[in-house]
Symmetry: C2
Subunit: 383 residues, 2 copies
């Protein structure tokens, strides 16, 4: 398998982008990535999206986006793994370049969620329709079950959950592309509207529109273009039961554990080697569980770590979600996995501005689908 690198990135602002269609935001992000990379063509492209069929009535998204980007007749394929669609699309671009089939591949993610569809209903199609959704549960409900179990088993507190939101809003306030750039306090989180006990409004990532794209290339291309080669040193993915009821425990996400094991092995790295990590904080509890399952903290200690500030940029222990995470940056579901890669790319390039983690050389992105039925992890390194 040959070396694969990321040489360019671009994204739209995340938020309620009512003035732009799904095609508009994709093209904006893709053109920015192409310009950033300085390439004069792309060999093929992947589009990660969870459900353009249900959100905006358009399938065949690879071909649609290739057309509107003006890159026909290159291959263009849509990849879906619910909220891990972006990470999955990046992984397919990785395989294509690693195999030697292509030199320059655009990996992108996009979702337009505010155009009128019933978002909660559409998102629920990422869960088990027969055994979960039919009985009325929604994603806040599923993660509330996980949160309640974590609180029971490990003594995780409401304040600790809130600390995740506070930290991510603080980071997001420094991210010009973030949907929410306002800081919040623990008190505000704990007094926000109840959504699914114990999760409140400020524990939940928002409904967002947005697109993100990166250029994945061979090392040869990076050298020719004299780009700082940011290598993809691990690509790992794992699955778990689609429904929560099928699992041995609610407090460990096995797909995260398994994907992390594979990723660390492939990269020949350990959790402590990471300089920063982007995790899939669709809900505050998800960040706490992820930081444990990735081996950054002992099981049951994720809440304490968040409350103690060990995951903040300032603390420098292990900065988590320097971008603001899904919570503050926004969560256009198909775009999220690519936006995570973009944060890694900027941090490793030293271009993350006010969010910059000093001396960042190795960084990890953990993108998750459903209530953990899919997990895609990538580790990037710059020397």
């Amino acid at each position: 398998m040959r070396d694969v690198v990321v040489i360019g990135a671009g994204m739209t602002k995340f938020g309620e982008l009512w003035g732009q269609s799904i095609k508009d935001i994709f093209v904006e992000a893709a053109l920015k990535a192409i310009e950033d990379a300085g390439v004069d063509h792309i060999d093929s492209m992947y589009v990660g999206a969870m459900s353009s069929g249900l959100f905006v009535g358009q399938e065949h998204l690879g071909a649609v986006m290739a057309d509107y980007l003006g890159v026909n007749p290159i291959p263009a394929t849509h990849v879906e793994s619910a909220c891990a669609s972006g990470g999955a699309a990046f992984r397919q671009a990785f395989f294509e370049v690693a195999s030697g089939a292509s030199e320059i591949v655009l990996a992108s993610g996009v979702e337009k969620m505010t155009d009128g569809a019933d978002v909660t209903e559409v998102l629920a199609t990422a869960a088990d329709q027969e055994y979960e959704v039919y009985h009325g549960i929604t994603f806040p409900g599923l993660y509330a079950l996980i949160a309640r179990a974590h609180m029971e088993q490990f003594g995780t507190t409401r304040e600790q959950l809130a600390a995740v939101a506070v930290k991510n809003h603080r980071n997001g306030s420094k991210n010009p592309n973030a949907q929410f750039r306002n800081e919040v306090t623990v008190e505000q989180v704990m007094k926000s509207t109840m959504v699914a006990d114990p999760l409140r409004l400020l524990d939940c990532s928002p409904v967002s529109d947005g697109a993100a794209a990166v250029i994945v290339a061979s090392m040869d291309v990076a050298k020719k273009l004299k780009r700082n080669p940011i290598r993809v040193i691990a690509s790992a993915q794992a699955s778990d039961t689609i429904a929560l009821h099928g699992r041995k425990t609610l407090t460990t996400l096995n797909s995260v554990v398994k994907a992390a094991e594979k990723a660390y092995k492939m990269a020949d790295k350990k959790p402590k080697d990471m300089n920063l990590v982007e995790v899939h904080d669709c809900f505050t509890i998800a960040e706490i569980v992820a930081t444990e399952d990735l081996g950054l903290f002992e099981k049951g200690k994720g809440g304490e770590a968040a409350a103690n500030g060990w995951t903040s940029i300032e603390c420098k222990m292990i900065p988590v979600n320097t971008s603001g995470g899904l919570k503050s940056k926004g969560h256009p579901v198909g775009a999220t996995g690519i936006a995570q890669i973009i944060e890694l790319y900027e941090q490793l390039n030293g271009t993350a501005g006010a969010r910059q983690v000093p001396n960042a050389h190795v960084a990890m992105a953990q993108n998750m689908g459903g209530s953990g039925a899919s997990c895609v992890i990538h580790i990037l390194e710059v020397k």
Copy 2:
């Protein structure tokens, strides 16, 4: 890029499978493929499907199917390129094995179309929602435009269109998995109900449920298992404008031309080297155009070739759609591309029974999305 082979295949019968869910049919096909290959595990899996979200209200299809197949925690990803979803899923499995990342990958396709959704409306999401579908056109309408242009430009006749259906039903009558095993006459086709002038009911592929799966592996695995190594000697894909109005001509599908060019080059083969070809005959006109754009016949001569029997098994010039094609075998859209690969696999293995093409060594599958905005082509060879 290392050698990639197909070592096993399995599919459900195609048709109206009201007694089985989308999960049931996927698992049936996948288990058959795994058993046929004689493998004791798979490293990862891809599921091609056009729109399980709109057809059955279930996204996250990779993870759902991995769960029901009982193969957690392996990576599982859903790939979509409208009716070329199966071919696109196979291509991703090809890249994953070619890159060296995995040894044994399941490539599958599935669609459950008869569970109550408005099929014409769902299929229309493969076309341009803003500029085509909004104005009322459907897929039979789009292909009728192509047929009318072909008739005008090349003198293609109604009888020639009918000849495609007659031949494919004859082939399908010999395929135990085909949805329709009845033969039809030119007269029956020409008197069948008008759908979109000049296309009649028997010019159209049916609405179908079905699943298909193949096991893609490295040559090392094939040798270890002492399997007849059927090599994937080309994988090519191309795109075109999503809407018909954006094209220079209606009578050539540029994605087919471009993907074929790449496929022949990669395989180092010419059209005349093919012993049989499966083409995407969603409508009779689509087979005629495809056989031309693949270089099997001169432009404008596809209709004559069909009427003269040059594409029949018996003629042995270039047997096209020995499986019965989409027309007779059925067209569960996401499964079609994989079912085409299965026909190649059986023919090259010499296990195609009454449909067997003698001395078949090289075969091609052409899978198409929308009105030709996507095309995926694979060439397989056995020595």
